[in-house]
Amino acid sequence: MTALLEARNVSKTFGAGLFNKKHTVALQSASLTLSDERPSITAIAGESGSGKTTLARILLGITQPTSGDILYKGQALSKLDRATWKTFRREVQAVFQDPFEVYNPFYNVDHVLTTPISKFYPNAGHAETRQIMEDALRSVGLRPEETLGRYPHQLSGGQRQRIMVARALLLKPRIIVADEPVSMVDASLRATILESLLNVHKQFNISLIYITHDLTTAYQLSENIMMMYQGAVVETGDVDLVIKQSQHPYTQLLVDSIPLPNPKLQWGQRDFTQRTQSNGAGPNLGCRFADRCPHVMSICREKLPPLYQTDERRSVACYLYKDAPVAEVAVAA
């Protein structure tokens, strides 16, 4: 079975600039597989600086990994010929975080929709272009007659973000990579955007990669989740297992810190370490979480733990589970 999109041990190191001699390891051998047969929703979750956006940009082919490979239908991205690269560009689409910055305020919103159409369907006439745009807008729950021809400032953040989902849809992609699509819109509108993403997945069989720092929406939307901390994957697998029965101390800490919208479930069920976040400047030898971990052992500071397969559908990078076999593939979605 060839995977549709596969990341094989990708790493990315930034830095060593003119003034700053330190390297920043933004991503450390992350692996991810999206199946070609069954569309899936995978969440990549972590705090700021966890490397989730770097991974997204590498998956989209915007950023080159320092090592490792991205395979699209079995071919390495770096070695694609022009025609296949164009197919990849069409079939893997992105929705970005900020629905305010992606628009040029001088063009009306039709512009972001017509540009990809003229690039990928050069033969489409005026009427056909209009039809494609209207269909895409309707499938994200927008009324074309109220949307087309308007300028970005005349639309709300939620509407703009849904137009971005529509834009991604236009080209009938196989995969949509959504990088924090709801973090800049109001709470009441978040649900509508996530709903349109879910509909798109169900209706058009598109696989989603949902990048977020919000574990509640990740839980609601996805089947699989990859938890990241300072560039390393700490826990990955079935979302129910990872969130509801977390094994990695970091995942446990995060799940425990979610402010649940229920006054009866208060914070502080679990012991909470008060350590401030380390800034990643220390030696990168051991587990990144060792400084904050309540269960830290001496081995944690010596060697980065591999992913242990603790469950059929979940693996954890923590020496607490070192009796389990080392995992072969990270996420097999």
Binding site: S188, L189, T192, I258, T276
Partner: protein, 317 residues
């Protein structure tokens, strides 16, 4: 218990070339000693404007058009500018949104904290001032070495704690916190909120937390005020609001919250926020309301106490 803060019929308009924008229109609430009130609402609902109006820190084109802000029976809106300056921080303090941008990048933390204290308490001796600043930093869980640092040497969570330290430095009666953790990660957010709660309880202040994160509200406040289009539409104890929201907007808001129960069901609130320049007649929520009646379209509902402690502005009650 007596009310520390009573806000009555507060109205703030932004005077724009296209006419007045009614950002805050008749907001009334009260706050008891030690109580924590959460103000929630979408962006543009007037929650931040309300907070800035309480401090009289609004800038042109915003103007307070009327109402009363009674802090221990003194109307802040009638004070002279000098009197108001003396009251800020000492009686009513602000912890701003985005701590990243509210500290002066070229001043050491101790000088920034010292500025506030100096203005209100006059010059303390050097050792007295150092001791006071160290105690303040310790009370928000920071190392005393932070006093000699510059803001860029601190993480976001640490900067926010410095702002909390500044807010409590003069032991105000009321603390206003405007989305104090919106830029922070969840783990740090929890630490900062716990620090804020502890500091507030220590000095016995009342607190208003502004935000749109209902989860954070559920964890932190005692009472919730829901704002929509410049008006308070519902006020009540936090447990009651989550268990049995009365206003249709609050009901939709609570139903739209993601939680760790129930998967793959998303319920958004249909429609968009009305323009405050030209608000719909009657109840401002009627175009989006699932329970809309004829009178909602013509007559604005009155904000009234429908049950003990539960205030709602809706024709259903």
């Amino acid at each position: 218990m007596t009310d520390v803060l009573r806000v009555q019929d507060l109205r703030v308009h932004y005077h724009t070339p296209s006419g007045p924008v009614r950002a805050v229109e008749g907001v009334t609430f009260s706050l008891k000693k030690g109580e924590r009130l959460g103000l929630v609402g979408e962006s543009g609902s007037g929650k931040s404007t309300t907070v800035l109006a309480l401090l009289r820190m609004l800038k042109d084109p915003a103007k307070i058009e009327g109402g009363q802000v009674l802090l221990d029976d003194v109307d802040l809106l009638t004070l002279s500018d000098a009197e108001m300056r003396a009251a800020r921080f000492a009686r009513i303090a602000l912890i701003p949104q985005g701590a990243m941008n509210s500290l002066n990048p070229v001043m050491r933390i101790k000088n920034q904290l010292g500025d506030t204290i100096k203005y209100h308490n006059g010059n303390l001796g050097r050792s007295e001032m150092t001791a006071k600043i160290q105690k303040l930093l310790e009370s928000v869980g920071l190392d005393k070495g932070v006093a000699d640092m510059y803001p860029h040497e601190l993480s976001g969570g640490m900067k926010q704690r410095v702002c909390i330290a500044m807010g409590i430095s003069l032991q105000p009666a009321v603390i206003l916190a405007d989305e104090p953790t919106s830029a922070l990660d969840v783990v740090v957010q929890r630490q900062v909120m716990e620090t804020l709660g502890k500091a507030q309880e220590e000095i016995g202040a009342s607190l208003i937390l502004v935000g749109h994160d209902m989860g954070l509200m559920a964890q932190f406040v005692h009472k919730i005020g829901v704002m929509y289009a410049g008006k308070l539409v519902e006020v009540g104890p936090v447990n009651d609001i989550f268990e049995e929201p009365l206003h249709p907007y609050t009901q939709l808001l609570i139903a739209s919250l993601p939680s760790l129960e129930g998967k793959g069901v998303f319920k958004g609130i249909p429609g968009i926020t009305p323009s405050l320049l030209n608000p719909p007649p009657g109840c401002a929520f009627h175009p989006r309301c699932p329970k809309v009646m004829d009178q909602c379209k013509v007559k604005a509902p009155v904000f009234q106490e429908v049950r003990p402690g539960r205030w709602v502005s809706c024709h259903l009650y």
